[in-house]
Symmetry: C2
Subunit: 450 residues, 2 copies
């Protein structure tokens, strides 16, 4: 049911492009939806991509443009004239058109805007590109149905009829006062069952949720998810209705946030994807690798201070990786649970103590299980002293890691820093160092006294 | 703008509940939306929760019930009679009602159904609870507007009027043939601009995307996201229209999937949250800890086989944590990029070679940077032999980890196993072992020959 691009399909398309076999290409593309065609074009070099894009029907071409990777779109648009770009933007929703135009070089933006035939569309786009990226203003669309409180139901329906251009889904009707300030909404049901001459002010719902143009997209996403909203009006500082955000736009924000969190957790510092250039990928990854290196060097100094002991008891060295790895694993587990709880609002952020106690409880259970197993193993393979050292150290390390894994993300969150950072290499590196310190400290004590 | 529950608010509510201060409680709750009230109730003990729930207005109570944590809802419903539960379900959307009833003990389900007054709602719920969890059938709602192809526009609008019960958003109108098979859809615009006596068959859009009742919710989410759909019809094996899924239901699937992936990456094997019981949390985490333990034990055996060398060159032991940690970090970075590419369709899954080469390229750049730094450090602190060992081993380990981090998730994906598993403790443990092996191998060679 869903199209999947294989190397075979891609090769046959590339061959057809080389032979300029338009008939074959058009036939292949006719069955596909815009996102599928975009996936194909993303894989082509720029001249092939431009050739294929030229073949697309006018009604699907703008959608394909929107679905392309940022890089591919940028390269493709660079081959277009300002007038050609304007033609593509004319048929897009205002928010999508604004996204595309915002990516263009600034000197071209005005030229493209001047070529857009629909003057209202042009002014909507011009307004939208002024909002900062990452704000509700940049996410909203201007297409909405709004009515004045003094209007009648009949006038309302006429307004809807005018504004219902090509929409499959009809969202709420917003009610504004004479100064364009949002004062409520009107459900479709109310509109249909009310008397045609009833006034909007008699039937509208004044209790309405909204955000401001400068609310962050992250907050918008959280808000719409929490309150199960499919559409959310956006107002400016004066409370005037400026646009509306629909849940499908927010879905992109949600997946991007999730992707970003996974990248932070994995020690990748910028937002990259596998199609980015080699050096972009390298640059995004090197910072946390260097942090890991520093951690490793600190670790080497700690172990170095026990050099004499290692000469006498080289078996101490055997369990260094185990202690380090377990501290890291437990820390990541604890912090993942807390980070998720914070994101889903199941953790009250000012109630740290109960969470810490619970995590320490889990750490104690799992720590005792792991410590018992390693005791048996080390006792059988080596001697009781090493067994005691490793198992006591392991339990202590697991408890420490549980504590840090809970405490660090909760603290970061208090200071409004993304707690996902804590679930990554940071907590792993920290636990590595603490683990080794505890291990050798316990080892020295045990070997010294017994 | 958004409500945040603090300990102060919670304590004042608890006190008011104890004093049965209904006036204060009702006033506090009247300003809040259902999800906020649910967050409060989740934090109360069951008798307090039941007391507070009783105080809610009838029009908000079912919404609050839906937003509660699974455990809290289960406990709360256990204090209700079947008739009371039925009253709550009567005003819910069919899909939400089915979700609630599916959680009840089986012997109570039929009793509750028999108490639902709206017979159509009862039969819709009865149908929906039969679909397996995790399928489109379990996700869909029965509330939709469908018309026959032979009907007129006027009849259509009448049908919409009848079915538009309390909806704020009007989704597409579906067109079915005489056997209830889905054959297309009708946009609202078409409906409004067409002649009242025009027949649906003359104006409908036959090109429509749909899923089957047994499609997995994961596929539904991917499908709706990819094709930017806000609503998607669901058909049975015979192509009959059974229900519709809206994007807001899918948002929950998307966040759950993202949460699940983060848990897999963090070495948590079941879907848990921080409010789960101690032993549930422990059980979900112990499996990967044991895997990590086994990895640690294997590591100890490998290091153990170099015992004599460590006695002579204890400085070899210093860099064990560094080598292990760096292998783990690089592996996690590589696999996170690939897992994300697979999820977002920017990686063609049958094209492994180019990805591997690129990842090795990134590994080479970052590996050379890290290896040079550690060379300088180890040369200054120790000697050139150790410096050579550590830096050569580090470069090799980073390249290996890049390779495994790319290869393992791509391979798992081919065999339809969730590649996120590979980004977690699995790849860390594997890289730990491989790293130590390479390190000591290179060390032995260098010390033996020079």
């Amino acid at each position: 049911m869903q199209f999947e691009l294989t190397t075979t399909i891609l090769d046959s398309l590339k061959e057809a492009i080389e032979q300029k076999n338009q008939l074959f290409l058009k036939e292949q593309l006719s069955d596909l939806y815009a996102p599928d065609i975009a996936i194909i074009i993303n894989q082509l070099n720029i001249s092939d991509a431009a050739y294929l894009y030229e073949l697309l029907d006018d009604d699907i071409a703008p959608d394909v443009l929107l679905e392309l990777d940022d890089d591919t779109r940028e390269n493709l648009l660079a081959t277009f004239s300002s007038k050609e770009i304007a033609e593509q933007l004319d048929n897009m929703d205002s928010d999508d058109a604004a996204d595309v135009i915002a990516e263009l070089p600034e000197n071209i933006q005005d030229e493209v805007l001047s070529h857009i035939e629909d003057i209202e569309q042009a002014s909507d786009i011009a307004e939208l590109i002024n909002y900062d990226e990452g704000t509700a203003g940049s996410l909203m669309a201007k297409e909405l149905v709004s009515v004045y409180a003094f209007e009648t139901v009949t006038a309302c329906i006429e307004e809807i009829r005018k504004q219902t251009d090509n929409v499959e889904v009809m969202y709420a009707v917003y009610v504004v006062d004479n100064d364009q300030r949002l004062i409520g909404m009107l459900s479709l049901k109310k509109l249909i069952i009310s008397h045609p001459l009833a006034r909007v002010e008699e039937i509208y719902e004044p209790d309405i949720q909204f955000v401001r143009t400068n609310t962050t997209t992250y907050e918008v996403a959280e808000f719409m998810q929490k309150y199960d909203l499919v559409v959310l009006p956006v107002v400016d500082q004066l409370g005037r209705l400026m646009g509306r955000i629909t849940i499908d736009d927010v879905v992109d924000v949600i997946t991007e946030t999730a992707d970003e969190n996974i990248q932070r957790m994995s020690g990748i510092s910028d937002d990259v994807d596998s199609n980015d250039k080699l050096w972009v990928l390298s640059k995004a990854r090197i910072p946390w690798l260097l942090v890991g290196m520093c951690g490793g060097i600190v670790g080497s100094r700690i172990i170095g201070s026990y050099e004499e002991q290692i000469k006498i008891h080289p078996e101490m060295a055997f369990f260094i990786p185990l202690i380090g790895a377990m501290g890291g694993n437990v820390g990541v587990q604890s912090s993942a649970i807390i980070v998720q709880g914070l994101a889903n609002n199941t953790v009250i952020s000012d109630k740290i103590a109960p969470k810490l106690i619970k995590e320490l409880g889990v750490g104690l259970i799992n720590g005792l299980i792991c410590a018992s197993i390693i005791w048996c193993y080390a006792f059988l393979i080596e001697d009781w002293k090493l067994a005691a050292t490793v198992s006591i150290a392991l339990l202590t390390v697991i408890l420490c890691a549980s504590f840090l894994g809970t405490f660090v993300p909760l603290t970061l969150n208090r200071f409004k820093i993304n707690p996902a950072l804590a679930t990554g290499p940071f907590v792993t590196t920290l636990n590595d160092i603490i683990g080794i310190t505890i291990y050798f400290l316990i080892g020295r004590l045990l070997y010294a006294f017994f």
